[in-house]
């Protein structure tokens, strides 16, 4: 085996094209874990650097936690499958739905307290990346 690097945009393209299947869902969950992890690391660092306040960071971290917990649940379900049937597809959609909504609300309203435009753009950037992967997974699941 050898190690390889796959870009996240390429993964998104692969995930969101064609019918839902196990491989695409697994790729999507992997891309989501990377996007969520990256978002969290960025937000924690920005709070450490005092460019965003602790209350705003806490609000974002609580939504990110929801995302991690949903990922964990979806990974655990997907691990047991040999193919994605309709009931499982519905189950995964139900897991992803509240997280997708929370991230959407965070993107729309969660950065209102950040006054510095550059900081706001950075925070929105990492959150929109998570939202994009969730959108790709939802497309792959037929939402």
């Amino acid at each position: 085996m050898k190690r390889c690097m796959i870009s996240l945009p390429l993964l998104l393209l692969l995930i969101s094209c064609g019918p839902a299947d196990l491989q695409k869902t697994a790729q999507g969950l992997n891309a989501l874990s990377v996007a969520t992890f990256t978002a969290q690391t960025t937000i924690i660092q920005m709070e450490k650097d005092k460019v965003i306040d602790t209350d705003t960071t806490r609000d974002i971290m609580l939504v990110i936690q929801k995302c991690f917990l949903a990922q964990k649940q979806a990974i655990s379900i997907t691990r047991t499958l040999t193919k994605i049937d309709k009931p499982t597809q519905q189950q995964l959609i139900l897991i992803m739905k509240p997280v997708t909504q929370s991230i959407k609300e965070l993107v729309e309203n969660g950065t209102a307290g950040i006054k510095n435009p550059e900081t706001k753009e950075k925070v929105l950037g990492v959150l929109v990346a998570v939202q994009s992967v969730l959108t790709a997974i939802n497309i792959a699941l037929g939402v």
């Binding site: 085996m1 796959i6 996240l8 945009p9 094209c17 992997n30 978002a39 971290m61 990346a129």
Partner: protein, 64 residues
Amino acid sequence: MGLALVILNLLNTAAPGIASLVTLVRNKDGTITVLQYLDAADAATDQGLKENMDWLAAHPKVIT
């Protein structure tokens, strides 16, 4: 396909910093199995969740 391209453009425009790379183990035949994707996702999720809980525990909400 169109929507996928919209998502890609959105990602590249809004978050160039997160066009980060995913390191995975590729098999000799060039494939990456479902379990390999899930193992990588699980490891990142566990680590992220731990850091998340540690941060929240260290920064409790102060009600005045």
